[in-house]
């Protein structure tokens, strides 16, 4: 569950990025976050995984108010949130296998468990036969899928994706979106930021629309 209560964020320099944002995403829901460039999509996602600090309001993640966490507690928050970046943030001097294994190594899992879970994760994104490759040897879509594999290897309950299809053509974007829908069906909460309205038009998922830091559209209909 992700809950924002009157959250505001102002960057140093006085530019307001988010103003009085409130919404609730239930566990297992799949939601898109849309808006023009600079509307505050990235800031919102970065607030959820503790990369930025909110100036006002509360952010509640699985019943924990993360605005009250100390700096030393942030790593433990991030372990429960899978984050996928537009520029995928892979380690170029490590193989695909090692890249996906890092979250588990941080947790100190046994090599047997790491092998099992990395294989499962890579299998899910369809890259099981490329695990000894280096990121540079893969295409953009495949690199993005490695990023997804890394985000889900630790089985987080929340998956955040910041423009995961930003650099991909339509076919690849659709594949990635399908992958997120599959993951969502296993019970993972997915929040995906995108400005590609074309891609999500025919989907029946909830859409949160940001406009200059304000939430001005929510297709979620209260039952």
């Amino acid at each position: 569950m992700i809950q924002f209560q009157h959250v505001s964020k102002v960057y140093s320099g006085g530019k307001p990025a988010l103003q009085n944002i409130s919404f609730t995403i239930e566990q297992g829901e799949m939601t898109f976050l849309t808006g023009h460039s600079g509307a505050g999509k990235s800031t919102l996602l970065r607030l959820i995984c503790g990369l930025e600090q909110a100036n006002d309001g509360k952010i509640i993640l699985n019943n924990i108010d993360i605005t009250k966490l100390k700096r030393g507690e942030m790593p433990f928050l991030r372990r429960n949130v899978g984050m996928i970046f537009q520029d995928h943030q892979l380690l170029l001097d490590h193989t695909i296998y090692d890249n996906v294994a890092i979250p588990l190594i941080i947790l100190g899992k046994s090599s047997e468990e790491i092998r099992r879970r990395v294989s499962a994760s890579l299998d899910k994104v369809g890259l099981i036969n490329k695990m000894q490759f280096y990121p540079i040897q893969l295409s953009g879509g495949e690199q993005q899928r490695v990023g997804i594999a890394r985000a889900i290897v630790n089985r987080p309950s929340i998956l955040l994706a910041d423009e995961p299809t930003g650099n991909l053509d339509e076919k690849l974007s659709k594949d990635i979106l399908l992958l997120f829908e599959e993951l969502n069906q296993t019970g993972v909460t997915v929040l995906m930021a995108t400005h590609n309205l074309q891609l999500i038009r025919r989907k029946h998922h909830r859409i949160l629309n940001l406009n200059h830091g304000h939430l001005d559209g929510d297709t979620h209909v209260q039952p």
């Binding site: 995984c49 984050m83 190594i105 941080i106």
Partner: protein, 324 residues
Amino acid sequence: MFNLKYNNKNRKHNKNEHRFFSRWLRQISYAWKNVWHDFLQHRIASILTIMVIAISITLPTIGYLLWKNVNIAANLWSPTPNLTVYLNKNLTDAEIKQLLTTFNAYSEVEKINYLSRSEALEEFKTWSGFGTALDLLDDNPLPSVAIIIPNELAKQTDILHELQAQLIKIDGVDDAKLDDSWFTRLTALTNMVKTLVWTISLFMLVAVSLVIGNSIRLTIFSRRQTIKVMQLIGATDGFILRPFLYHGIFISFISVILALILSEIFIIQIESIIWNVSAVFGTIFVIEGLSWDECLLILFFVTIIGWLAALITTKRYLKVTQIT
């Protein structure tokens, strides 16, 4: 019932402890693998750094060895410093005996060699070659002499000077001369070497920490993408810090080993020269190398410095960086 519960709890606790320990071991081995991987990737740079540190350690080590051997040589060869006490010519034998017991009562005194006036004359005749000239004199011009040999503990310039001052004040003593010119010079010389070695060591210490710090800084710089990703994924500062700490330990450890080998080579080199020189002087002097204790101490000390330098550098970097 209660007992069973307690046992269960205990077992669970043990299991947790075991899991914690194995997790810890795995993380440590991962960090070491990282260090090794990094070393292989930047082989030339790492080896150059290690050479610089090794030489920085070798210099003070050689200095220390010099001081140690000069000290040994000083103790081996320096003539024992003596106090020569000249007694009044008019003293009777009984009075002289009395005086000698007084001298003996001092705790600094090891032994007294007494030369009566006639013995002194005999010795002067044999040594000086002026024997016939002395016969011209009616009277024996030489006083009786007590040569005081201090014990080991008292063989220090300060103590001997103090003793000399005390002896001169005793009735019946005409004069007390301290024959310590050699001794003073040698002590001054070894002290100078000691101060030099200390100063060089201090400078080298600073140099070593700076070199290690700089090497770590370069490593951090080349791995900042990795650090960033690690932070994004949820690695604690401790986890990120660990490979760099091990890097510092690794570099300083290898450097010390190299430095010890270099010092040993230096000793072997210089030994043959010393052999030739001491053969000319008709004595044998064996140069002493580093003992095991000393090697271990240097190893331990420099490794700690490496660890500390790495810790300070990395902590400062992590404090400054914000994930962007």
